[in-house]
């Protein structure tokens, strides 16, 4: 274990360093308590929380889930207690455990994002905010800010204006757009310090016996290894266009090899989501395997490996 210390596994988003480049993916780690039974949350770069809204949300009706080949559709619909209860209960518990925390926020209007950002301003020792502008599980497709450069920009500007200066802002984008690079440029120009790539891909399953959509919400977000090549492509395209902007890569990462793909494509960190559903200790497996994979390929620091696939 001693030569592990010789490897610089740190990563950086905005002005913050994280001791490891492995994160949970938003909405895939419960409140943190559920996973802490299986590993020490402090081992993560940070816990990325579920996307939290201004008010409580029941989420969508069931069925909310359909397994697909090497993937799954979900239509949770951002179920959560609302920001006030979340800040009262979830955040103190995580901080008490010594976990670094990136809070993910989701609003229905620009003003809601601003209001969420103001609430976070008063919380000491957060490690960042993920601005989820790309959840596909909303009633109106027009509400997916990340499908529109102007709307994306407006949200990130509102968060930037309202949050304390030293929280890294990470904008989470949707792959369901014609030109992801133009959206990325807008949110970076608006003040995003980093990009979370990618959110789930909008999909659908028909129950052929019931002859209707399997999910009560009709459509859902596709995640898991099935979307990994899409994620790698998006990370590669965005890193090529904006090589100075750190990317938190996600989408079907299950092993250290998968994480290496994202790092080499240009990600500075990797989030594990759906893999946790199949294996509660998936994040620790990916962490161990990624470190080994980087060492095996002669790297002595994570940052040296970021984007090497670009030559």
């Amino acid at each position: 274990m001693s030569d592990f210390q010789a490897f610089d596994f740190r990563t950086k988003f905005g002005g913050r360093y994280f001791p490891a480049p492995i994160f949970t993916a938003s909405g895939c780690a419960g409140s943190g308590k559920e996973l802490s039974q299986f590993f020490d949350l402090n081992e993560l770069g940070a816990v990325v929380t579920k996307s939290i809204s201004v008010k409580p949300r029941s989420g969508r009706p069931t069925p909310r889930m359909a397994e697909t080949p090497s993937g799954m559709l979900n239509s949770i619909g951002l179920q959560g207690p609302g920001i006030d209860q979340f800040l009262e209960t979830d955040i103190p518990w995580l901080q008490n455990k010594g976990a670094r925390v990136i809070v993910s926020i989701s609003g229905e209007t620009v003003e809601e994002y601003a209001s969420l950002a103001r609430k976070l301003r008063g919380i000491p020792s957060l490690h960042g905010v993920e601005v989820n502008i790309s959840c596909p599980n909303v009633e109106n497709r027009g509400l997916v800010f990340a499908c529109d450069p102007v709307a994306s920009r407006a949200v990130i500007e509102a968060v930037r204006r309202n949050i304390s200066g030293d929280y890294p802002i990470i904008a989470k984008l949707s792959p369901d757009v014609t030109d992801i690079v133009s959206i990325a440029r807008e949110v970076v120009a608006a003040g995003a310090d980093g990009l979370a790539l990618i959110n789930t891909v909008l999909g659908m399953v028909i129950d052929v016996d019931a002859k209707r959509p399997k999910l009560a919400g009709i459509t859902g977000g596709l995640s898991g290894p099935a979307i990994r090549p899409i994620a790698v492509r998006v990370i590669y395209q965005v890193h090529k266009a904006l090589p100075q902007v750190p990317i938190l890569g996600m989408g079907g990462v299950t092993s250290g090899r998968d994480a290496l793909e994202m790092i080499f494509a240009g990600a500075s960190g990797v989030s594990i989501g759906t893999a946790t559903f199949g294996n509660p200790s998936a994040v620790m497996k990916v962490k161990t395997e990624l470190l080994q994979g980087l060492r095996d390929r002669g790297f002595s620091s994570l940052m040296d490996a970021v984007g090497v696939a670009h030559g």
Partner: protein, 285 residues
Amino acid sequence: MNINPKAVQDSVEVLSNKKVGSYNHMVFAVGDMATHAKPGNFVAISVGGASSALILRRAFAIYRSSNRGAYGGTIELVVAAHGTGSRWLSERSVHERVDMVGPLGTAFGIPTEPVNALLVGGGYGSAPLFGLAEVLKARGCRVDMVLGASTAAKIYAPLEGKRSVNIMTLTTEDGSTGVKGRVTDVMAQIIERNNVEIIYSCGPMAMLAAVDQVAQKANVIHQCAVEESMACGIGVCMTCVIPMRDAAGVIKMQRSCIEGPVVDGSSVVWGSERKIPEGTWGAPL
């Protein structure tokens, strides 16, 4: 306090796999995982092997568990091979290993005093009721059981399971064994005749809803093990929610893997599939 503080993840060996009627009875050597397993708890198993396209864990109700024996702790499951994941599990041979997480979820509440209990199971949903019957019998309870299914082959009622049961009544929809009809057709009479004070049930949601109606009408406490499709079993995926009233009476979408599977039947808002009940906390306006 952590959630599921007794749960562990382990690679466990298949000790036995036998076909029983339409189902497979499987025994796993689980070591310490058995120590904390209670009737009503479940385990979550990774299926399909390392290169499988099946990426989600499968939940199985524990049939029985034991701390002692030649192989140390064991957990037994009754597997209905009706999907690709459960079929894969049912095809495992003795000495193969599977990745298991458990014990998970809530357990059936056991009365402190001897009471008259009625256990109602549908299909292989009867499995966890036999372990429960043993515990109740050991507490001096009278234990009656009603098991129903569409047809005789789908009733799971092993001989050794019947030892703890006073009177077993079977119902089948096609009349191939027992009373022709459904479990709810015979419940009221048993409740009255045996002065039933608590009902435990396990089976499909539609059956649990019907059992709850009978229980409420008879004013008897009803604990049921609910099911809703699950991706993880450990409370992180948020897919297995059902609308339930909390202690303050507020309807919330609650996880059947954490707040359940065993819940108070009267707390469930039945018949809510594909909709959020009116008045649910955080429901869309």
